[in-house]
């Protein structure tokens, strides 16, 4: 942040932009007492991603550098980590755009979760909260031969939540989670919104009851970090706000849902 004041001489290769220095927080609880930072120098081209850099380090320099990854194009949610102080997916982030004035990038594991090794964190509470909100849809008993009819608008309304890849960037950016792991968390509340808002779901009331508690939507203090952190540009805060409002008129919402479900098997009328 104050780099422009403390600007020092930058190494030639880094000035030319074909080398970068990657600072990684290392921690192996088997041998280390506490986390420490380690620097690696990696080659860089304009299309090198942060994940590429980590891979280069792992395969050429130090195989014990540990991180999760799989798809490498921002869809599997494995590689969320804390890059230069904010959470992001390593795989979709260009290295050259993440460097400071010294050609350095700082990578740490996701905050607020216990570290297993280096950049790998223990996500037990993350998944426990996911389970708590019952992420599965429960369709009505009367299942048609073909599809339930949903309007393109109804589908569109779910897109904010449907593309969540459960990477946990939001969860680990929220200071409330830092204080209290019993808080359901933005990821699970977003998922809960997805199910609650889906016209095909038949237990919206029960869902609202689950999130309508001290550790549900009311624990969110509207910090907005979850929006800033989300690599898929989703908006958990808005979902939480919506859930809060729905929770206050739960009975009416349940009735509306029952009403909507009566026409689930009929074509949406066109304007």
């Amino acid at each position: 942040m104050f780099d422009f004041i403390f600007k020092r001489e930058t190494p030639e290769a880094i000035k030319k932009g074909n080398k970068a220095i990657v600072r990684i927080q290392r921690f192996n609880p088997e041998v280390d007492e506490k986390p420490y930072m380690e620097e690696f120098e990696v080659p860089m081209t304009p299309d090198t991603t942060v994940l590429d850099a980590l891979h280069h380090i792992k395969t050429e320099q130090d195989g014990s550098v540990t991180f999760r990854r799989s798809c490498r194009h921002a869809i599997c949610g494995s590689c969320a980590m804390n890059i230069n102080g904010s959470n992001d997916l390593a795989c979709h982030r260009p290295l050259s755009e993440s460097l400071d004035y010294h050609g350095k990038i700082t990578i740490k594991p996701l905050p607020f979760q216990p570290i297993i090794k280096d950049l790998v964190v223990d996500r037990t509470t993350f998944w426990a909260q996911y389970m708590k909100i019952k992420p599965w849809l429960i369709p009505p008993d009367d299942i048609p031969e073909k599809e339930f009819r949903m309007s393109p608008e109804e589908v569109e309304a779910l897109h904010n939540a449907e593309t969540c890849i459960m990477c946990g960037a939001c969860y680990s950016s929220c200071q409330v989670v830092g204080l209290n792991k019993e808080y359901i968390g933005p990821h699970a509340l977003l998922k809960s919104f997805l199910r609650t808002a889906d016209p095909r779901d038949s237990i919206p009331g029960e869902r609202l009851e689950i999130v309508d508690g001290d550790n549900g939507v009311y624990r969110c203090h509207t910090i907005f970090n979850c929006i800033d952190a989300c690599p898929k540009n989703l908006n958990p805060t808005e979902a939480i706000e919506t859930l809060r409002k729905l929770a206050q008129k739960r009975l009416a919402y349940e009735e509306a849902r029952e009403e909507r479900q009566k026409t689930l098997n009929e074509p949406i009328r066109e304007a």
Partner: protein, 115 residues
């Protein structure tokens, strides 16, 4: 750690809120004594009329104003879909609070210096 506007606003809101609760307790302690006779009341009032308390008063003003406008900002976020404007909203609330604090604080300071 995330030092976003959201977090800063949250932190300031908390600090100001807790500070206000403490002030409230103090305030009740002072005003409540009004029915216990003038001596008690004046003693307590005098205890909070020292110059150092005038400085606290400015801090109090800052806390109230910030907390109030941050509260308004939150209420806006709750009832309107404005999460896109989250940064601007915070800056706006902060700026208004800062202006009002200065507007109210300068007279207090002058009052204090004068007497």
């Amino acid at each position: 750690m995330y030092r976003s506007t959201g977090f800063i606003s949250f932190l300031l809101r908390r600090i100001s809120g807790v500070a206000l609760v403490i002030y409230l307790a103090l305030h009740m302690w002072v005003i409540g004594s009004v029915n216990q006779g003038p001596e008690v009341f004046n003693a307590r009032l005098n205890a909070v009329q020292t110059p150092i308390f005038k400085l606290f008063e400015i801090a109090l003003l800052a806390a109230v104003v910030y907390h109030a406008f941050d509260g308004i900002r939150l209420l806006i976020v709750h009832y309107f879909d404005v999460t896109d404007k989250r940064k601007s909203l915070f800056y706006a609330a902060f700026a208004i609070a800062a202006i009002l604090t200065v507007a109210g604080g300068v007279p207090i300071l002058m009052f204090m210096l004068q007497g």
